[in-house]
């Protein structure tokens, strides 16, 4: 009996917590379907439901061009994903399998660099991009791709840990059979590392969707190059918020759904990756 009461209490507590955790999400979804505009309303369920907020995002593109922001982010994230994944895999392989003089110093350097606040160098990165002439016109997209991917090589820890789990005997056998180190990399390590490669691809793909501060500094007010996150952030600025709040919620839902799906897939591959390359 006592046990039963305890169980019920625990389930009730879990339910309350779940409501707290899901409340903001429900709120956005509710708002996105709400017909009445405005930010602050004194009731939870909308009086009238509508799809207009969604259609408005794609039709009313005069002030805030949501489709363009979406395409911008997509282009930037695809390119930076390709570059960043290549960089991460290359450095992880070198750190894990090859032995050379600069290996240890490089690993220490990567750790030290990780301790500096990322924004500290943001202004300097902006000046460097400006020197290279990448802060005007369509080249801004190139600049953003570089910002998201160029330094990716320092984030090799997770993939390196994974490569470390590939048994040495496997690669040694391949080298005895006459494989070069490069062939070991793409014929043995890469095929065995699917979970961690997918994980790396997804994290680097999500980067540009989640970050907004670099875009804010580099792109500034040139709204034709805004990415989704900056666009949504700006919709909540004082001059837009009253008119755009419900559409903001619609945009947030539209962006969150694919990101959430990718994130959940990524989690699964991350767990797979943590359990090692070759299972017993």
């Amino acid at each position: 009996m006592k046990r039963k009461v305890k169980n019920i209490i625990i389930h009730v507590i879990l339910a309350i917590l779940a409501v707290i955790w899901l409340f903001p999400i429900f709120w956005v979804v509710m708002t996105s379907f709400r017909k009445e505009s405005g930010v602050n309303i004194n009731y939870f369920f909308p009086k009238e439901l509508t799809f207009d907020n969604y259609t408005r995002l794609f039709t009313d593109t005069q002030v805030i061009n949501f489709p363009r922001m979406f395409v911008n982010t997509l282009i930037i994230s695809i390119f930076s994903c390709i570059i960043a994944t290549t960089f991460v895999l290359c450095t992880s392989y070198c750190m894990s399998r090859l032995r050379f003089k600069m290996r240890k110093p490089f690993m220490n350097l990567a750790m030290i660099l990780g301790l500096f606040p990322a924004f500290m160098s943001m202004v300097a990165v902006y000046f460097i991009l400006k020197l290279a002439g990448l802060t005007e016109g369509g080249l801004i997209r190139v600049a953003l791709v570089l910002v998201y991917s160029a330094g990716a090589g320092a984030g090799f820890y997770i993939a390196k840990g994974f490569f470390d789990t590939v048994p040495k005997s496997l690669t040694e056998a391949a080298i005895l059979d006459g494989c070069t180190q490069f062939q070991v990399f793409y014929k043995i390590i890469c095929p065995l590392s699917k979970p961690i490669i997918v994980y790396t691809i997804l994290t680097s793909f999500l980067g540009p969707w989640l970050d907004f501060i670099f875009v804010k500094v580099i792109v500034g007010a040139k709204d034709e190059y805004w990415t989704v996150s900056v666009g949504l952030y700006n919709m909540l600025e004082r001059e837009f918020i009253q008119k755009w709040y419900t559409s903001w919620a619609a945009g947030a839902v539209l962006v969150s759904i694919p990101i959430a799906i990718l994130f959940l897939i990524m989690q699964r591959f991350y767990v797979d990756g943590m359990s090692g390359a070759v299972k017993g």
């Binding site: 955790w21 602050n40 490089f106 924004f119 500290m120 300097a124 000046f127 952030y233």
Partner: protein, 456 residues
């Protein structure tokens, strides 16, 4: 010990020292005319590459480099002005110096020079190597074989070249540039945005000293940053762990459902969930309105307007963000605790509380120790939560930082909003120093650091 061993692993006779002392004339001259030694011994392609690098560097230095180095000590002095041109009888606009650009170019020139010196040493080593091979009558590698080596024994050079260049240009170079900035008066104060000078350690005094406005802001912000990082890390950790254990109990029904409820909140991008939170918690936001309508409170709760309220709110909202993460990780660990441990404890007659403190907790700590440290350092640098949620509010009149501002968000405000670039850089450096102390001290005290090898 370890360092000595490390070095001997990669020791070769082909060092710069040996090249200079034991090399023949051509080898020695390779230090002046790069690639000469390789050229003499038949490695034409390689010598051409070296020579091209040298020519390129010299051209750069003559054209721009020397000028930038010369300007580095003063960072430019000429103001933009209109000068009377006697011949043309007109005022001509003369462009002045731009200290930021001069500083950046100076740092770039130094970096280019260091890279060049690396190649210079490499040329000496390579020349000595080919001479050494010739003396021993070993086969000298052809260019084709050298290229093939890039895919095998020298693979790291091929694979690391681009990633390392990226890190060099987009991480290290900007960082050096910003560190240099900390020693100048590049700031909106006193109109030093175009022309500025070196000022030594003055900015550090300004930030650390209690005299001025900035110093009076720095210490409270630092204190709050540490308090925040402590609570944000440990509250998340313990509450997340309890949640994971509760969900993982045998008696709990619908484990997957509960987990999904919590995980879904981290799958939503932060700029969405945090911005929602911000609007929900406004003075006339939904939470206040709903509570007022329900008659639970008489006046609106001052979530962002009262310092203590705001601080507690950001910590609690951060729990909302962080607990699911810990829950996910601890769940994974709990499922991996070796079952023998529990059985042995039960046979020895341990009760559930003893089992928890003697087995479960130490096991979790062993694996989560390093994670906690990265969480702590990550929270010190947790820009998103504060910036999106409170934006540092409430801000006292005349202060550059608000009551919930962390060092990083203050850094952002100082550089982007106020244009006090030098002070921003100083705060970045101080943050780095604090982080490295935390990281160094704690890493060495975690079980997984002390016992790293034994665990593998």
């Amino acid at each position: 010990m370890k360092v000595a061993k490390q070095k001997s692993d990669f020791a070769t006779p082909f060092t710069v020292k040996n090249a200079i002392t034991k090399g023949d004339l051509f080898t020695k001259l390779s230090g002046i005319i790069m690639g000469l030694g390789n050229f003499k011994n038949g490695q034409f392609e390689k010598s051409l590459i070296y020579f091209a690098i040298e020519i390129g560097y010299i051209m750069f230095m003559i054209k721009n480099g020397f000028y930038y180095l010369k300007m580095l000590p003063t960072l430019g002095t000429r103001k933009a002005a209109e000068v009377w041109n006697e011949q043309k009888q007109v005022y001509e606009y003369v462009q002045g110096d731009n200290s930021v650009l001069l500083l950046l170019y100076g740092v770039v020139t130094i970096a280019v020079t260091l890279v060049f010196i690396y190649f210079l040493c490499d040329s000496l080593k390579s020349a000595y190597k080919v001479q050494y091979y010739k003396e021993k009558n070993w086969k000298i590698k052809s260019f084709k074989e050298d290229v093939e080596d890039l895919f095998d024994s020298n693979l790291h050079k091929l694979l690391m070249f681009l990633p390392f260049s990226g890190i060099l240009i987009f991480t290290i170079l900007p960082l050096l540039f910003m560190i240099a900035m900390a020693f100048t008066n590049y700031s909106d104060i006193g109109d030093h945005l175009i022309l500025f000078d070196w000022v030594g350690l003055k900015n550090f005094k300004t930030v650390l000293g209690l005299g001025g406005k900035i110093g009076q802001t720095f210490w409270p912000v630092l204190g709050w940053t540490l308090i925040w990082a402590f609570f944000a890390t440990f509250l998340n950790f313990f509450l997340g762990m309890i949640l994971a254990i509760v969900i993982n109990r045998k008696e709990t029904k619908g484990k997957a459902f509960w987990r999904f409820c919590f995980v879904i909140s981290i799958a939503i991008p932060q700029f969405v969930s945090l911005l929602v939170m911000r609007t929900l918690l406004q003075r006339d936001g939904a939470i206040n309105t709903l509570l007022l309508n329900a008659g639970l409170i008489k006046t609106a709760l001052p979530f962002w307007t009262n310092a203590t309220w705001a601080r507690v709110t950001v910590i609690l909202v951060n729990c909302w963000v962080g607990i699911p993460y810990t829950m996910l990780q601890v769940t994974g660990i709990l499922q991996n605790v070796p079952a023998e441990l529990y059985e042995a404890a039960k046979i020895d007659g341990a009760n559930p509380i003893q089992i928890y403190f003697k087995i479960t907790l130490p096991y979790i700590m062993f694996i989560m120790g390093p994670y906690l440290i990265t969480q702590f350092t990550g929270n010190i640098n947790n820009f998103n939560v504060i910036y999106l949620l409170s934006g540092g509010a409430p801000v006292e009149v005349g202060k550059t930082a608000g009551k919930t501002d962390l060092l990083v968000t203050w850094l952002y405000k100082l550089t982007i909003d106020y244009k006090y670039y030098n002070l921003g850089a100083v705060i970045g450096i101080l943050t780095f120093i604090i982080l490295s102390i935390v990281a160094l001290v704690t890493y060495r005290n975690t079980a997984s650091y002390k016992d790293e090898e034994g665990f593998q």
